[in-house]
């Protein structure tokens, strides 16, 4: 069996379970197997057969991007973690308006 750690935003699909078990030979197969057990999982995790850009999948701590991506092979006893990437970007006029309308500034220095 393979243990899969499910992140908070996907736990609605697993009825609140933070960890599920299944068996699969590759990451691509794992996505299909998860989708069978928890419908909707495939669409959350992948797009056009590829794992979504800002979703990180680790097999025993190793990022599959540096192994064999979707074709990374899995074996009994592996632990898989699905983790959303953390990123952010520039500041623009939209958020400027939001900021102007929000609570007063706090200074800490």
């Amino acid at each position: 069996m393979i243990k899969v750690r499910i992140p908070t935003p996907l736990q609605k699909l697993t009825n609140g379970k933070a960890e599920v078990e299944c068996s699969a030979k590759t990451v691509a197969e794992l996505v299909d197997v998860l989708d069978k057990d928890y419908p909707g999982m495939k669409d959350r995790l992948s797009e056009g057969g590829k794992i979504r850009r800002f979703i990180n999948i680790y097999v025993n701590e190793e990022d599959i991007r540096f192994v064999n991506k979707e074709e990374t092979s899995l074996k009994d006893g592996d632990a898989i973690s699905i983790v959303p990437a953390i990123a952010g970007g520039n500041w623009n006029s939209t958020s400027s308006q939001l900021a102007a309308s929000s609570a007063s500034e706090y200074d800490y220095i």
């Binding site: 800002f54 990437a85 953390i86 990123a87 958020s95 929000s102 706090y106 800490y108 220095i109």
Partner: protein, 140 residues
């Protein structure tokens, strides 16, 4: 409210300054609304208006937070030339791709503005389903 020790706050500020002119980022481990451990991290795609955590470092830090008995209580990053408010990209990235499901609903997104280099401004926000709310930062 998120409580941060003055010394930890200084570590966050120093890391944000050291990343200039680019954005800098990191994680905060803690519990019960108090930061216990600051993790300054690498910006894997550095730009004056972009940051992305290194996926392997992110995994290691999240594991260290769990093994230390803490929770991922906050995420911080700098805005070298912008205000201390989440940008539209920050907000978009806080949700699972293609959904309105927040990735880290229990984490405070702390933003450090270095717009005025001599006078940084830090503010905290929670990004939950469809809404951004300010979370007061308390430096003690």
């Amino acid at each position: 409210m998120l409580n941060i020790k003055r010394s930890d706050f200084e570590v966050i500020l120093a890391h944000c300054r050291s990343g200039l002119p680019n954005e800098a980022c990191g994680m905060l481990g803690g519990r019960n609304g108090s930061v216990e451990k600051v993790y300054p991290m690498r910006n894997a795609k550095p730009g004056p208006d972009y940051y992305e955590m290194d996926a392997e470092e992110q995994f290691r830090v999240m594991k260290d937070i769990r093994e230390s008995g803490f929770e991922l209580i906050g995420l911080f990053h700098s805005h070298p030339t912008g205000q201390a408010y989440p940008s539209s990209v920050d907000i978009a990235q806080a949700y699972w791709p293609g959904t309105e499901l927040p990735n880290y609903p229990d984490a405070v997104y702390m933003i450090v503005s270095l717009m005025d280099r001599a006078r940084p401004v830090a503010r905290g926000f929670s990004i939950e389903e469809g809404r951004v709310q300010e979370v007061k930062l308390s430096v003690i």
